[in-house]
Point group: C3
Chain length 278, copies 3
């Protein structure tokens, strides 16, 4: 966070795109109300659902998805992330600028991995700086609708500057997902989440495999070869690969590795040198 | 329904926004076909999914979600609601104007709570008034695509006046959800539905708690204190609160009250005076 | 495929609309990344989710949904379909023009039923023809994001001609769903999929019932009358009907035929003459 917020602001040119990442799911009109509020303020907003099916009450997963995907959106995108079990209590809301993107999230670990980067600038939201917010009408339980949505619309419309929204802060709640432990002989990480196919997605970045000549992945007492894509093994076979996010993933061709292995969030995953003839 | 439809029309200025509320879910292209039909007629339509996961064949839940959320959308929004177990039979379709919003729904109780308001004006759709409808091409089973979508597009484009779509009607099928019973000592309502977190949402409006000094909520044989937000109790603890819709909700911090209590739609919920020291 | 690709190109006028059909589901940011990539290249794109809940790894279902729904979208729509278990292997990608619509899908049977039509023109994608594609940055596991999305944006923006994207091909992988077997006495088809209500949807087109005076549908050892719409029987009763796609469907009024009958994908369904007094 050594880059001054002024220079970061200079790089934020609102694109009109807003992404939404929540644990609200698709039942009920909750996400839709956020969109309604945004369209009331900024009728040209282009709103994209990043996902509403992150694990409830687990901010770190939302942050992981966002951290690994925001670069695919236009620069100048506003990313609203609302996994917020402490809504209505004293928790702060952060406005983070990084790489020309703007992120708004509760200060609960969700956005820690982006906010702690050297090049990010981080502001603590002062509600009084959001134009036209009626503080008395802010509910105690749904800041997504009553705070994030109006703020997101103003940011996406280019009508407020991120750096004007509150004081700069240096310390934020860190992500709940620790970085992998790296020794010469092994990398020790965990399963962060899974996708619709039951592929198990870890926190181990591809770069961590580079020191190994013939890396293998160990999880659940089994050893998996590293392949390039799912179709390289037969349906039903297990494998590991570097997925499209650039992290290690455990997969089972055309089936669910999660169900087959009985592993889920938090399960330890290890990288080590395989035998020469693996 | 004492306000003349003429004066209501005067307040409907199409915003171009259309919301969709159905029990169709996300499997198959059904909702997408509705959007395709709308974009064919009105390429600038801004279409928002309110929810497609209301309980199948239970129009009242869709009406509840809509009634409690439409005000967050721009005035001039067209709300299409299609929970329609009697599609293709003799049931009528209603066009309702209220508060500058336009609602289109089958006359099966879905829209009863809005249509019965004094300030609403209600018309019974005459298909011949929908421009360019090919009656022979209207399917017997999917009026969402063949009637609601083309009509919604014309309304959102501002090309038809709601009051021109058919005769005014005074009597509609009432909502299946009865209003709570109110006595001096207690308010008796029910669970209407739940959200993605397993919070149980009732039909008891916040205003009904005002006569009580220290209201408590009784459901499933247990008594719950009324708190302001989820974070005021420890994870796993039960509570009641006034939710962001302005109705009483039973919640369990960071867990599912629905699963924990074994309660669901229709379960009785009572408000009464708590003890002085609760 | 006898129509020359030149004449088909003449009929493709990009509408700016893009539909997405995948088996990716709603967990994680995968579909959203595709949208981000498209908005980066073509900020006016109108992106519609057709469905992301087709059966995983079963391309034929995605093709079935698409084949039966594309006509409801504006002419000039680009339909991206990504059910792609062989991603990153040698499988080809097809660009198909038919009826003024453009389809992009892996050559794995997904798009067979459209590509094999006489009036369709089919090209095999040459990646070098996609403007600005960085082949080195194409992942091995997510061509939806790295190939389909940029290509879809260019097509929807009208900046590339479908016929310029690669050589014409005559032979494609056929759909995995065979056409029904038709004899004078009966039509034998299968259940292709189901919808959110548990209605069982078959591959038997309405036209195949025309030779019968009083057709009945036989499945799971039971015989079902053919009705016009769900509300013609009592809740809980079974029936068959011609659904809004124009194919035979087995339904149970206000309940799930799939659960009630225990039938699912692949189950045989037969049409035959009913008794005169059925």
């Amino acid at each position: 966070m050594t880059v001054s917020s002024a220079s970061q602001d200079a790089t934020f040119h609102a694109s009109g795109v807003i992404t939404l990442t929540t644990d609200i799911g698709h039942k009920g009109p909750f996400v839709a109300m956020m969109k309604g509020v945004m369209l009331r303020r900024f009728s040209a907003a282009k709103i994209v659902d990043l996902t509403h099916e992150t694990s409830p009450h687990f901010p770190a997963e939302a942050g992981f998805w966002l951290e690994r995907s925001y670069r695919y959106f236009p620069e100048g995108t506003v990313h609203l992330a609302v996994v917020d079990p402490s809504v209505g209590t004293g928790r702060e809301i952060l406005v983070v600028l990084c790489d020309g993107h703007c992120f708004v999230a509760p200060d609960n670990g969700l956005i820690g991995s982006i906010a702690e980067r050297e090049r990010a600038s981080v502001h603590r939201l002062d509600l009084d700086e959001v134009p036209g917010i009626d503080r008395a009408a802010v509910s105690a339980t749904f800041h997504g609708r009553d705070v994030f949505a109006p703020l997101g619309a103003e940011l996406a419309a280019g009508r407020v500057k991120p750096s004007s929204l509150g004081p700069t802060v240096d310390a934020v709640v860190p992500s709940w997902i620790e970085e992998p432990t790296v020794t010469k002989a092994r990398v020790s990480g965990i399963v962060v989440t899974h996708d619709n196919f039951g592929n198990l997605i870890t926190n181990i970045d591809a770069a961590l495999l580079e020191p190994f000549k013939n890396p293998v992945v160990v999880a659940g007492g089994l050893t998996f070869p590293v392949r390039r894509t799912y179709g390289e093994v037969s349906p039903g076979d297990y494998m590991a690969l570097i997925n499209s996010f650039g992290v290690v993933e455990l997969a089972r061709a055309e089936q669910s590795a999660m169900e087959g292995l009985g592993l889920s969030r938090g399960a330890p995953v290890r990288i080590q040198e395989g035998s020469a003839h693996a």
